[in-house]
Symmetry: C2
Subunit: 200 residues, 2 copies
Amino acid sequence: MRISELSARSGVSVATLKYYLREGLLHAGVATSATSATYDDTHLERVRLIRALLESGGLTIAAARKVTDALDAPPPGRHSLLGVAQYALSEGGTGSGTPAPAADALLEALGWRVDPCAPARQELESAIAAASAGGLDLTRRDLSAYARAMRRVAEVDVRGVPRDSPAAALRHVVVGTVLVDPVLIALRRLAQEDVSSRQE
Amino acid sequence: MRISELSARSGVSVATLKYYLREGLLHAGVATSATSATYDDTHLERVRLIRALLESGGLTIAAARKVTDALDAPPPGRHSLLGVAQYALSEGGTGSGTPAPAADALLEALGWRVDPCAPARQELESAIAAASAGGLDLTRRDLSAYARAMRRVAEVDVRGVPRDSPAAALRHVVVGTVLVDPVLIALRRLAQEDVSSRQE
């Protein structure tokens, strides 16, 4: 299809599609002349993913490009696909090695196997510190209960990963990591209302 | 204390403190002359909360003002404190009444008591639609499992709400709603790594 049809089918303007192409978010079409190219369903699917990442996932262009780069060329290494997605999505890249004593102590108490350089370690440490700065000191008991609940979430996450193709698996993981967060946050709000209403 | 001391103790510049005062995020001090005022520990605590909301919570100034307004004058009404906080925090204000068929069906299947106008209903509907647009169709089974996990989170949330003072309760709820989300997201990432590593 021509770029005008890709625009019509995706609902994204031609100017924006050209921007995605320039920024490397969208892979190039097959050139049909010096000034035009043809696109296929892989482009349409990618444009839908980009919209979802930017609009619903709230990602920056740079973060979205990390995701599409990871999809196009899964980085090799010892991490699981879930790890690859997380490292690609993490703002800070790989973990900085900065001490994260609260997170480390919690993870050790839980017995979780987590890479010492996992970016989420730092993210957890920062989030605990920010809650404390805001006047909310989370106890070990609270954190453990939250962690057990989120492990159940992770079991669903991992269960859903396709086993047939690494590319499909990575895509599932990346999309799931970014786009399921808002689902969980909304469910938390709704559950709070339910739990709260039953206590009155 | 003078505004210079409030600045030194909070680490927030005097110019920024004056901006918070103008925007109504920070309550006025007690005037000591035509050009100066005195501040106390309630101001220091509020400034720390504002920083946490803006930096860690990622709130806009307008959303942060909704929170501080709710803290200063808890809105009356039938909703629980949790509801008040959620409605204040929701971008769209009260629910628009737009149909949310996927969310409604899930909540009915779960048997949760949730106000028909709860903003999180719309948020859940949008998040499910966005995941689908990104190529991830969440099954009822997945959504139910996520919901059950988030209900455990909500039980911890509600358990921690102080019972002695409505103001303290509201503050806890608002801060917890905004600042615990990043803790949960980080825990999800870490749990994914643990669950994934045990499957290899």
